[in-house]
Structures are given as structure tokens and as C-alpha cells.
């Protein structure tokens, strides 16, 4: 069997039609769909290695049971693209659609989930409220009827939701870009963007200057820094989001379980590890260190849902950076101030699950110059025009 390289290394050209900053799922997906649209003289610039940032640190949950019609339509497209991704990219990204349960432990929670179920159904997304007996049937190990401080009252059940092998998605997109004629440049850090008369002219990197008329900011954690290179301020606050993984256990948990009252979510991979996480850290920070209080909180809350896991051991904790916007929704598209500068940023805690949709629609925008309707609600200008997207209310632990 001859070894095929996933992606090749190239010399940095001095001109590209499109330069994409950020070698995560958003940048690579956009690049891949651009090559599919025939735009091939493109480069993805990654400061470290593909999947270094959020794409390698997220907990790989995919779902579309959002709250607002804008959000639902967008993520529904993403789920559908994910469903066909393995075939499209000829790489098994292991999308396991075993269902996603969001638990409610109080009346307010039930109301919030009911609203989402109603809106999901209105938009044609498979999602419904289920009650304790059915929850127990789907997740036999869950503490539904045993002693609990905040007993489970209902859940939003979303059968198409699930988990995916996030690294595989990144690698497969990178290979797709490579095969489509695009260049993936790792260890290539952007140090500046040149703008003349309100038009992007070039990108400066540690490996040289690239002439280009179109730049896409597809970074996280550094989105504000890149935008500042063209003099643009974007409303983003960066918070760490932490996660942890346990030792492998024989699989017993097929669904993704999320509880915002208990600030915890958990899933079990095909390797048998439990992956658990919580909401973003309270305070803005760029720290990737992880805290003990996160581990204590996540363990405490996980044991409330699964008391018999007390002897299960944590192997590793880590942190990633989440760029939070005021309405917990991303910023996609251009800006009237700088021509040729586009962004897909502010992906908070919901970026990975959106990767293909964001890439697909951003590619369409770049190739055609027209904003697809599904992108319109997420324009940067919404913050100036007071047209926020109402996902925040549903977002506290929205994985």
C-alpha cells in the first residue's frame, strides 16, 4: 500500500486570489468549498499546525436544535453537510448521530426547552420534549428517578444530534483543499494586512508578503487582533472554555447529555472515553491552563447525573479559547469599511458544529460576491443596527 500524503507543503506564492487566515475547521472548510466552486488559487495560513486551536480542543458535538429561526436554519445546513462529509471527502469523520438530550431540572428550564422544541418543529428539525420515563429508556445509566438535588423533569430530545471525530474533519478538509489545488501553509503567521484606499492589498507573514485582494479572518482567540490589522474593532470578548476526558470504559452512553442547570455536558466516544465540559469561564482571559475548580465542578455535577461513576478517573483536562459576541452568535461576512476583508469569527462555544455550513456559505459569498440569505442575520452591522440574534437565552451550556 503506497502512502498518500494528506496535504503537501508548498512554497509561499507572492500572490493568491484568496488568503484565509486560520487553519481550523472554518478556514479549511471555506477553502475546500472555494475549490469546489472553481476558486483554486487560494492559501490557508495557519500559525501553528492545522487544528491547533478550537478545532482541536472542542468536544465535537453537532446539533441543530437552536432557539432562533436564523440559528436553526444555519445549523440544520451544517448537520446535513456533516452527514455527507465522509462521502464528499472520502474520509471517515465518524459522525455518530446517537441523539442529543438537553435536560431541564426546573420549570424555567422546561419552558425554555419547550420553546426550542416548538420552534425546531416549525422549522422542520427533529426535536421534541420527552419526560422522565422516556429519558430513562434512552439513557439507562442516567440518574432520573434516584435521589437528586434537582431531579430531571424533562429533556429536549434531538435524535440527529451527536458527536464527530473533530480532528478527522479538520484533516479531511485540509486534504480536500490540497486535492482541489489550494495551498495549506502551516507554521505561517500573519503579522500584518496592508490596506490602501479602503481595499485589502496584501497580507504580511513571517514567511513573506502575499498580494491579494481578498482576506478571510477565520481565527478564534485572535480574531480581534487580526481585525485590528485593518483597523476594525469587533465586539468580541475571549473566554476560556474547559473540558476533560476520562479513561476508556466499555461504552454505556450513546447520547450526548447536556444540563445547563448543572453546568455540565458529557458524551462517550467510540474509544470509550467520557468527554465532559461546562460553560465558559466567567472572566475574560487567554489562559489555556485549566483550573482545578473547573474539574471539581464538572465532576460534582456529572456525579449528580451518574452517581455510579465516582470511581471513574479523569485522564486529562484542557482549555480552549472562545470568542464571545454580545448575542452569542457568530459574525460572518464583510464590512463596509474595508473592501476585501471578510470574517467568520465570534464562534463562541458553537463553532465546530457550524464549520461546514460556515465554510459553504462563506465560499459562496467569496465566489459570487453576494451574501447568501442564511448569512444575512449574522452580519457585523447587526451590532450597529440593533439586530441581535437571540441565541444567548438558550446558550448557557449550549454544547
Amino acid at each position: 500500500m503506497t502512502t498518500q500524503r494528506m496535504w503537501r507543503e508548498h512554497e509561499l506564492q507572492d500572490q493568491y486570489d484568496v488568503v484565509i487566515i486560520g487553519g481550523g475547521v472554518h478556514g479549511l472548510a471555506t477553502a475546500y468549498y472555494l475549490t469546489q466552486l472553481g476558486v483554486r488559487n487560494i492559501a490557508v495560513l495557519e500559525a501553528k499546525y492545522v487544528g491547533f486551536g478550537g478545532s482541536g480542543r472542542n468536544t465535537a458535538i453537532v446539533r441543530s436544535n437552536y432557539r432562533t429561526p436564523e440559528g436553526i436554519a444555519f445549523y440544520d445546513l451544517s448537520v446535513k453537510l456533516y452527514e455527507q462529509l465522509a462521502a464528499d471527502l472520502e474520509f471517515n469523520v465518524m459522525f455518530s448521530q446517537h441523539g442529543h438530550l438537553t435536560l431541564a431540572h426546573n420549570e424555567k428550564g422546561v419552558t425554555g426547552l419547550t420553546e426550542r422544541a416548538n420552534t425546531n418543529q416549525l422549522m422542520g428539525v427533529n426535536s421534541r420534549i420527552i419526560f422522565p420515563e422516556e429519558i430513562q429508556r434512552i439513557v439507562p445509566d442516567l440518574n432520573v428517578f434516584g435521589h437528586s438535588r434537582f431531579p430531571i423533569q424533562a429533556a429536549l430530545y434531538h435524535p440527529p444530534g451527536g458527536i464527530i471525530r473533530h480532528d478527522a474533519v479538520v484533516w479531511a478538509f485540509a486534504r480536500g483543499v490540497d486535492r482541489g489545488g489550494g495551498h495549506v501553509h502551516q507554521k505561517t503567521e500573519v503579522t500584518g494586512i496592508e490596506v490602501q484606499n479602503g481595499q485589502v492589498e496584501a497580507v504580511v507573514t513571517n514567511r513573506g508578503r502575499i498580494k491579494t485582494k481578498t482576506v478571510l479572518n477565520a481565527t478564534a482567540g485572535y480574531a480581534g487582533l487580526i481585525s485590528k490589522m485593518v483597523g476594525l474593532e469587533i465586539p468580541i470578548e475571549t473566554h476560556p472554555l474547559q473540558a476533560a476526558v476520562t479513561e476508556p470504559l466499555k461504552p454505556f452512553l450513546n447520547s450526548v447529555i447536556v444540563s445547563s442547570t448543572l453546568h455540565v455536558y458529557v458524551s462517550q466516544t467510540d474509544r470509550g472515553e467520557l468527554v465532559l465540559g461546562a460553560e465558559v469561564d466567567d472572566h475574560a482571559s487567554y489562559s489555556l491552563r485549566g483550573t482545578l475548580s473547573f474539574l471539581e465542578g464538572a465532576a460534582t455535577h456529572l456525579l449528580e447525573l451518574f452517581p455510579h461513576l465516582a470511581n471513574v478517573k479523569i485522564l486529562r483536562q484542557w482549555a480552549g479559547l472562545c470568542d464571545m459576541t454580545p448575542d452569542y452568535s457568530p459574525i460572518m461576512g464583510g464590512t463596509p469599511d474595508v473592501k476585501g476583508f471578510l470574517m467568520t469569527v465570534g464562534w463562541g462555544t458553537y463553532g465546530f458544529k457550524a464549520g461546514p455550513a460556515s465554510g459553504f456559505l462563506m465560499a459562496e459569498l467569496i465566489a459570487s460576491g453576494k451574501t447568501p440569505p442564511k448569512l444575512e442575520p449574522f452580519a457585523l452591522t447587526r451590532f450597529y443596527e440593533d439586530r441581535l440574534v437571540g441565541e444567548k437565552a438558550a446558550a448557557s451550556v449550549s454544547h
Binding site: 500500500m1 502512502t3 500524503r5 494528506m6 503537501r8 499546525y49 487544528g51 482541536g56 429561526p69 465522509a86 472520502e90 474520509f91 471517515n92 469523520v93 465518524m94 455518530s96 448521530q97 424555567k108 419552558t111 419547550t114 420553546e115 416548538n118 416549525l122 439507562p140 445509566d141 438535588r149 484533516w171 479531511a172 476508556p248 470504559l249 466499555k250 461504552p251 450513546n254 474509544r271 470509550g272 491552563r289 482545578l292 474539574l295 471539581e296 465532576a299 460534582t300 455535577h301 456529572l302 456525579l303 449528580e304 455510579h308 461513576l309 465516582a310 470511581n311 471513574v312 478517573k313 479523569i314 485522564l315 486529562r316 483536562q317 448575542d327 440593533d386 437571540g390 444567548k392 437565552a393
Partner: protein, 969 residues
């Protein structure tokens, strides 16, 4: 010698392994007992189900993972055997001795690295089928639903000047030096007794004293000979144990070093959180295995593992052994095995001219091991010169390897110290510590006992010293120069061989024992493009298993470097992350059965006695209903009722600038609020979004009393502090008095008469009209009384010190008895307030609601000076309302679920936020968000109820007492 000597005759105990009985000496590990009993296959590997036996005996490798008494994934080498214990092997079917899934080992050709990414996805329906199969065979231990929750855990918080991690020679010396310098020291050690690896290497321990005699003559490297003394290990341990300034925490592992030298320590089922001013990492090293063919066969052991079995578990190695080595440790272990009765077939030394020699043992120099023979246990070793030829086979039952170490440096990495791989010592060494952190001993590549001891003393003194004059980041560290110099001096007689992989093209050369990743897998992955060490890890899964790279990190980096044509230093390392050792969730969670605090008001016992149905409101318990919502409703509307509102957030503000602060925080006006008056207010964020509501009472010129909703009490406290933090020049003193006051709301047409019986204060409407705030005595208790009416009746919100809450509550009920007063719960309150169209923040509003659209336009005073959200609200006012919160009445007699949708032409128009039957209206009423064009009195909206559209009529006025005359009566 080890401390086990001199104890009483070990008593024999019995436990069960896979259904049969095994004898163990008391104090012996489970693994030791199995070894003694001849049970050498203790687990099966993750992917190929190859038989695995004991390797490291220190709880670091994955080979001995079993289920013990129902707990999955327990390392039995560090688990003491206990009578009646039930030990079961894992990940094997039908048994660990005969595992049918070993077929995967034969099929390895079809399962190359990352094969699952390349197969099983076509056609699309195949993946779920495959996945089901994979999920059946994946994972290690099995959790037991009936078991696991019964453990008792606890937590402890400690503080120390200097924390020393590791009780080996370096750590002991560091602790003693620091303590003698006058600071308090906490020494944390993972073993049950101090001594580090000297515990199982008695020859090395004894050598300290003889070396000491040697060293005293020529001590050029000692800057101050008088300050450093080497004493025997037993003396050292005794002095450390007896030192009044040293606390020893044994059998405890530091799993994390978090920001600010905050150490997480696991000691059995206890978690200790230790805050240390200075940390000394003296964690030593663990031995690394060599990568050769069949290197995972039972019978292949690490030298230190064999030593632990020999000296700590009193086991033997019957038969012949081959020792593969590149250092002095190999010769010591060969002699120790020989002394214990093992025949040493040969020592295979990688080096051409080793300084060591072994009497009477055949030694092959410049040789290494090529493969282990055998299928279930070692039967021989194939050795060859380093070039790979010619090969010869030696018969043996044991292959013991002593080929170098991996430093236990993850805590240094975690805390941000800079390390670099140094080829001259074949180990990463610190090139810069972070302030308040030091390292000492073998982790600094100082393996000689004397060097380690001196390095420890240095670190101990330096740590004590920097408590007096803190070291700054980037400052030159004498200790690093010191260690470097000492390492340099040792070079001649201990040049490391950097020998990680034996030369052969064989396929089953395991690098990662957890995940069955071979040398070939790693090379193949790199060839496919996964050349970065992190990408390589994620693709090949090397170092992702239970040992988190402890056994495989050194070799995988070396192979990666070689295959990429880079140096090891260039290749880098994967990020070190907590926990250093696997950490049970129960230990992290601690002892609490109820994982969230339960808060009860001072009147809680009364409510329960009265038979109230209690419900959760955040962490609080609150009465939902006592006996009947209808009766409680009727009491309030007709006579008098009282509700416990102690859960409200309460904040007291004092100071000359409080008015300025309130004007800034709230969209409405407070400058004109007179003393003795109370006003309703909402709080908005910068985007003009309504966060919370409450009342603000002015009790004096500079003294205000505020309430928040129950759910937002903490958030608003933080919110105020956040804004005050940036305004230190403002004279605003804030006290959160939420828990200090009990509160109750007395409401109903007769409430004035009830209260009159309990106070001398004049309650008449002239003196105490609607929205008056007063301080007076109620039932003999100083109280703050606010005349407000959330439920729409004449009413008083009475705040009294918590300890008198129950007294006043009972006094009110007693005084009201003649008026047939009734306590009422949240359910009645909800109907009462809904009839008044009073919104509940967070229920009737969401993260997009501003007060203009939430039917509170009157509250926003845009002509004020700047306040939080002003700009956003001004813009929102300019653009006009898009959606509005409105009241509605249903003509049909149904009560829709909350969150039912309001549809306009089949599209989402809004949603219901509150809804219920109103006795006053005699029908269903509610609040809903609707598009602004429908928010007109009398407009019909369509609500989706069970798939059917139900019409409802928008109503501007409150549903009860629209003029407010009852409120103001």
C-alpha cells in the same frame, strides 16, 4: 534497607482473581501476589488483545489495569491486596488467559494506523453498523450501575511556605534544608514510606554513605562545604519525620500545579488543595521501556519494576533472565536478581565500553535486544550487535530492561517552566523556572545520589531564601547553573546512549502500550503528513491512553524526530496537562451528597409544618402552595395574605455618591427620590437588555435599601461591584444583606388592619401612602417596611433581621387570624401578579428584551446623564419597537403550555411567556411577545396549541384593578 525489615511475620490473606483464589502476604500488592502465584497475564491490550503482564510496578504503565471490587481500571501494582478482594481482568473474552479477540493481532495487517478513517464510511448506512460493532468492543473496564456511588470522599485545604513534591533523596534534602532555614515545609510523597527509588534499590541507598566518605575529600563543586552534609537515608528520613517544621503527606500524589502554586493532591479518597508560596519539584524519573519486537510480552519488565517486586513485594524471578541495559542500574538489578536466585543468562549492554562489570555474568557489549520470543510469556531473547547482525538467541523467562529514564517533569511544564532536551544527558532539563518554583534531583538529570542530595539542599535553601526576597521572572537562577555544572562533571562515566529503539524492521515493536501503537504506525503516520508531534499524537493515538505518554512519550518523540530528520529538541513535546495521574471523579467532587447548597429561609420549618409543597428556586426552597391556590388567591384579594419573600436579593448602599451611582446603573431617575420613598426600577446592560428588576428605597440622605429578584441576587451583586470597581473615587459602600434579612409581603384589603396590631407607627395613607418606605418596629422588631404591591393589593413588604423572621411571620399570622389571613405560595402569587401584568425578568423577558419593548417605556429616561444602556436604548427608541410584550385573553377555555408559539401566517411571530386561569377575568390570560404591529389593544393573535391555532385578544390594561385604586387605598 527497606523499612519492611524487622516487622512481624507477614500474615497470609486471600483474594480472588478471575474466579480463583490467590494468596498474598499482608502489605503485598495485588500484582505482587499474582506474580508470586505465577499469574503472569494480567490484562489484554486495547486494540490487538495481546496478553500483557507486569511492567513498571509503579502505577504508571497500563499493563496491570483490572477491575477491583467492581471499580474498573484499577492499577493492581499500587493496590494493596486485601482479604476477600475480587479482582477481575478486563477487555478480554472469554478470559484474559484465552481471549478470542486476539484474532485482531493476526489481522493487524488490515488495521494499520488510522485505518478507521479510511474505511467503513461507504455506503453511508454502513458506518452506523460498524460503529455499533466498534462500541461493543471498545473501552477497557465496565462500569457497574449498582456500584460506585458508595465511596466516602473528603477535601482538605492546607497552606505552606514551601511544598516539596517527592520524598526521594532530593526531596528529603530539600525539605530539610528549607525547614532548617526557618520556613514551614510540606513534603508530599506518593509512596507509603519515604525514600523514593532508594526504597527498592538497597545497594544504591547503601552507596550514599560510602560515596559520602569519598566525596568529603574532593569537593570542588561544593560552594560551601560546611552547608552541605550527606547523611544516610535512614538518618535523613528520621530527621525529616521528626522535624517540627515539616509536614509529611504520604501515599499522596500531586496531580496538578495550578495558577499561583495551587497544588491539587490526591491522597486515597481525599483531595488536598495546597497553596504554597514556593514549590520544589523533586519528582524524579520513571524508567522507560525499549522498543523492540514483542516488547510487550509478559515476562518483559522494567528494571525498577523487577526491583519493586523483589524488594517491596518480596517476590522472586524463577528461571533465567536477560538484562538489557545502558547504565549502572542494569548491573545492580542483575546482581540483585542473582542474589534472589535468578540465573542471569546474560547482561546485554548497549555500550561498547561500560565502566561497570558483573562478576560471573556473561556480558554482551555493544549489543541490544532485537526481539522477545514466546507467545504468552517470554521464552527467549534474540540479541545482536547494534548494527542488527548477527543475531543469536538466548533462552530466558525474563527480560529486564534498564535503558534510561523519562523525567517526571509534567508539573514543571504545567506551571510554565521552560525545558529543553539536552542530548548530553538524554533528558529534557529546565532552562528557566517560573518564579517560586524549583526543581531538584533526577528531574534535573542528576541521577547520582550525591548530586541529587546536594541539588535538593540547594533548592531547599533557595526556596527559603526567596521567601525573604522574592525572585523575579527572568532573573538568572544560580540553581540552574549549579545543576548544569554538576551534570557536566558526571558526563565522563555516564554518557547516555540515547537508545530508544532496537534495530529491526519488525512490525510488532510497541511504542505505546495503552493504544497498541507500533514504531511502524508512527512512521506511517508521519509519511501520511501527520509530522507535527501533536498531529501525530491525535492521528496515531500514541500517548492518548491511560498512561498519558508516561511509557511512550520519550520513544515516540525520538522516532518522530528520526523520521522527520529533526533533532529531539526541534520535535518538541506534547503539552503537559493535569491530572498527572488518573484522578477519580469522586475525589474531585468531595463528600457532598447534595452537590448544590440548599438554602432555606428562617421561616422554612414553619412552611414545612404547615404542609406547604416546597419547590426549588435556584438553591432556595420556597413554598409553592400550602393547601389550595384558589383559597390563597381569594384570601389576598378579599382579606389578607402573607408570603415569604426572604429569598429576594437585598443590598444596602451608603455614601455621598449613591445617588450618582443609582442614576448611572438604572435607566430611571433617582435624584428626585425623597427620603422615605421607594421606587420600582429595572437594570439594563450596555445593550439596553433588561437584566433584572427590584425596588430602591431611600432610608436616609446617604442610605438606600435595594432589592433584586431571587434568581439574580448574585448576578446583580457582581454587576454592581463590577461597575464600582472602576470608580474607586465614588463614595459608595455596598453591603450585600440578602442573608441578613428575612422578608415577607403582607397583602390584601385588610393588611393595614393586621399590621396596625403589631406596630405603633402610623400606617394611614397620609403618613404612609403607596410607595412609602419607613423604618419602624413590627412585633417589637426593627423593620424596614415598604408599601408596594406586586400582587395588586394594599400591601407591605417587611424586612426584619433574619433571626426574627419566624417571630414576625408568626406574629403577623396571629394578628391576622381575626381577618382570616392565609399564607400564600408562589403559585398564587404568580396568578395575582399576572392579573396586574407585572413581568418577571428572565421569564417574561429574554436576552433580547429591552424595557421599551417589555411594556415599560415609562421607566427609560433618555434625558438623564449617561447611564448603562442609554445609547442602545436611545437607538432602540429611535428605530421603534419590533416586538412587544403584551397581555392577552383567550376566548376559548384552554390554558396553553408556556412557550407556545405565536404564529403569523405560519411563521414564527412570538411566544407565550406566562399564562394561567384568572379568577378575576374568569378566563385564561397571559403575557406574550408579539410583532409590534399586533401589539395593539383588541388585536387578535394566533397561538399554536397542540398543532391547532387558537385566537387570543391583546389587552393593554391590567386584568385586575386597572386604575390601581386598590393598590393605593
Amino acid at each position: 534497607m527497606t523499612s519492611e525489615s524487622g516487622t512481624t511475620q507477614p500474615e497470609s490473606i486471600e483474594f480472588e482473581f478471575d474466579g480463583h483464589r490467590v494468596h498474598a502476604e499482608s502489605g503485598q500488592s495485588v500484582a505482587g501476589a499474582l506474580h508470586a502465584a505465577g499469574e503472569h497475564i494480567v490484562s489484554r491490550s486495547f486494540k490487538y488483545h495481546r496478553p500483557r503482564g507486569l511492567l513498571c510496578m509503579s502505577g504508571r504503565c497500563p499493563n496491570c489495569i483490572c477491575t477491583v471490587d467492581g471499580t474498573p481500571n484499577v492499577r493492581i501494582c499500587t493496590q494493596a491486596a486485601k482479604p476477600g478482594m475480587v479482582v477481575k481482568s478486563q477487555n478480554a473474552w472469554p478470559s484474559v488467559k484465552f481471549d478470542l479477540l486476539r484474532i485482531f493481532d493476526k489481522l493487524h495487517r488490515f488495521m494499520p494506523v488510522g485505518f478507521y478513517y479510511k474505511r467503513m464510511y461507504k455506503p453511508r448506512w454502513m458506518w452506523p453498523v460498524w460503529e455499533k460493532f466498534i462500541r461493543r468492543i471498545a473501552g477497557l473496564g465496565t462500569i457497574n450501575r449498582e456500584h460506585g456511588a458508595e465511596g466516602v470522599y473528603d477535601k482538605q485545604n492546607l497552606f505552606t511556605d514551601v511544598a516539596v513534591i517527592g520524598g526521594g533523596l532530593a526531596g528529603l534534602n530539600a525539605a530539610l534544608a528549607a525547614a532548617d532555614a526557618g520556613v514551614t515545609v510540606t513534603l508530599i510523597d506518593e509512596q507509603s514510606e519515604l525514600g523514593g527509588h532508594l526504597r527498592h534499590d538497597p545497594d544504591l541507598a547503601e552507596s550514599i554513605i560510602s560515596r559520602n566518605a569519598l566525596a568529603s575529600g574532593s569537593s570542588a563543586s561544593q560552594p560551601d562545604a560546611s552547608a552541605f552534609r550527606l547523611i544516610s537515608l535512614s538518618d535523613l528520613i528520621r530527621r525529616v519525620s521528626e522535624h517540627p517544621a515539616i509536614t509529611v503527606i504520604s501515599s499522596a500524589g500531586v496531580f496538578g500545579c495550578y495558577e499561583g502554586n495551587y497544588l491539587g493532591i490526591q491522597q486515597g479518597q481525599r483531595m488536598i488543595r495546597l497553596r504554597a508560596a514556593q514549590v520544589i519539584v523533586a519528582t524524579g524519573c520513571w524508567e522507560r521501556p525499549l522498543v523492540f519486537e514483542n516488547n510487550d510480552l509478559p515476562g518483559v519488565m522494567l528494571a525498577s519494576g523487577a526491583q519493586r517486586l523483589l524488594h517491596l513485594d518480596h517476590c522472586q524471578f524463577p528461571g533465567e533472565a536477560v538484562v538489557v541495559t545502558d547504565n549502572a542500574q542494569g548491573y545492580r538489578v542483575a546482581n540483585q536478581l542473582k542474589a534472589a536466585g535468578t540465573r542471569i543468562t546474560a547482561i546485554v549492554d548497549v555500550r561498547d565500553n561500560p565502566p561497570e562489570s558483573a562478576d560471573g555474568i556473561r556480558t554482551f557489549r555493544g549489543h541490544t535486544i532485537i526481539s522477545a520470543n514466546g507467545s504468552r510469556h517470554v521464552s527467549g531473547a534474540v540479541i545482536a550487535p547494534l548494527a542488527g547482525h548477527p543475531k543469536q538467541t538466548l533462552s530466558c523467562r525474563w527480560i529486564v530492561q534498564a535503558v534510561g529514564f523519562t523525567p517526571a517533569n509534567s508539573l514543571l511544564y504545567q506551571n510554565g517552566c521552560k525545558l529543553r532536551y539536552d542530548e548530553s544527558v538524554d533528558q529534557a532539563v529546565v532552562i528557566q523556572h517560573v518564579p517560586s518554583m524549583y526543581s531538584a534531583g533526577a528531574v534535573n538529570a542528576l541521577h547520582d545520589p550525591r548530586d541529587a542530595a546536594l541539588d535538593g539542599q540547594h533548592a531547599g535553601l533557595a526556596a527559603a531564601e526567596s521567601l525573604r526576597s522574592p525572585r523575579l521572572c527572568g532573573e538568572t537562577e544560580p540553581s540552574i547553573a549549579e545543576a548544569t555544572q554538576r551534570r557536566g562533571e558526571r558526563k565522563e562515566d555516564s554518557v547516555p546512549s540515547c537508545h530508544y529503539v532496537s534495530p529491526s524492521g519488525a512490525k510488532k515493536k510497541f511504542v505505546c502500550l495503552c493504544e497498541d501503537v507500533t514504531e511502524k504506525d508512527i512512521c506511517d503516520a508521519i509519511d501520511e503528513g501527520y509530522s507535527n508531534i501533536e498531529t501525530l499524537k491525535r492521528y496515531s493515538t500514541v500517548s492518548m491512553g491511560p498512561c498519558q505518554g508516561k511509557m511512550c512519550q520519550s520513544a515516540s518523540i525520538a522516532i518522530c524526530a528520526r523520521h522527520n530528520g529533526q533533532s529531539i529538541a526541534e520535535t518538541g513535546v506534547t503539552t503537559a496537562r493535569p491530572p498527572e495521574q488518573p484522578l477519580p471523579l469522586g475525589v474531585l467532587a468531595g463528600r457532598a451528597l447534595h452537590f448544590s447548597l440548599v438554602r432555606r429561609t428562617p421561616m422554612n420549618a414553619w412552611h414545612e409544618k404547615a404542609g406547604a409543597k416546597m419547590g426549588d428556586a435556584g438553591n432556595w426552597k420556597r413554598p409553592q402552595v400550602y393547601s389550595s391556590v384558589d383559597q390563597e388567591y381569594e384570601a389576598v384579594r378579599q382579606r389578607a395574605g402573607v408570603i415569604d419573600v426572604s429569598t429576594l436579593g437585598k443590598i444596602e448602599l451608603r455614601g455621598a455618591d449613591v445617588v450618582k451611582f443609582l442614576e448611572f446603573i438604572y435607566p430611571n431617575r433617582f435624584a428626585n427620590l425623597k427620603v422615605g420613598r421607594v421606587r420600582y426600577g429595572v437594570i439594563c446592560d450596555d445593550a439596553g437588555i433588561l437584566l433584572d428588576d427590584g425596588t430602591i428605597a431611600r432610608l436616609g440622605d446617604d442610605r438606600f435599601f435595594l432589592t433584586t429578584t431571587t434568581g439574580n441576587a448574585d448576578a446583580i451583586d457582581s454587576w454592581f461591584r463590577w461597575w464600582l470597581a472602576g470608580r474607586p473615587e465614588w463614595d459608595v459602600r455596598m453591603t450585600n444583606v440578602s442573608g441578613s434579612y428575612a422578608a415577607m409581603n403582607l397583602a390584601g384589603p385588610r393588611s393595614r388592619e393586621v399590621l396596625k396590631k403589631l406596630t405603633d407607627a402610623d400606617l394611614s395613607s397620609d403618613v404612609m401612602p403607596y410607595l412609602a418606605a419607613s423604618e419602624c418596629q413590627i412585633a417589637g422588631v426593627s423593620a424596614i417596611v415598604l408599601r408596594i404591591g406586586f400582587v395588586g393589593e394594599l400591601g407591605y413588604e417587611i424586612h426584619v433581621p433574619s433571626q426574627f423572621g419566624l417571630h414576625v411571620w408568626e406574629a403577623i399570622l396571629e394578628a391576622g387570624r381575626e381577618f382570616s389571613i392565609s399564607p400564600f405560595g408562589l403559585e398564587a402569587q404568580r396568578v395575582l401578579r399576572l392579573e396586574k401584568k407585572h413581568l418577571l425578568p428572565g421569564i417574561d423577558t429574554d436576552a433580547l428584551s429591552n424595557p421599551l419593548e417589555a411594556d415599560l417605556p415609562w421607566i427609560v429616561k433618555l434625558d438623564k446623564d449617561d447611564f448603562i444602556g442609554k445609547e442602545s436604548l436611545a437607538r432602540a427608541q429611535q428605530r421603534g419597537d419590533r416586538n412587544k410584550l403584551v397581555g392577552f385573553r383567550l376566548s376559548e377555555f384552554v390554558v396553553p403550555d408556556l412557550a407556545s408559539l405565536v404564529l403569523c401566517d405560519g411563521k414564527l411571530g412570538g411566544r407565550i411567556t406566562s399564562c394561567g386561569y384568572s379568577p378575576a377575568v374568569g378566563g385564561t390570560i397571559g403575557l406574550a411577545w408579539v410583532p409590534a404591529n399586533l401589539a395593539r389593544n383588541g388585536e387578535t393573535i394566533q397561538i399554536q396549541v397542540n398543532g391547532r391555532m387558537i385566537p387570543a385578544v391583546v389587552q393593554d390594561e391590567p386584568f385586575y384593578d386597572p386604575s390601581g385604586s386598590k393598590l393605593k387605598s
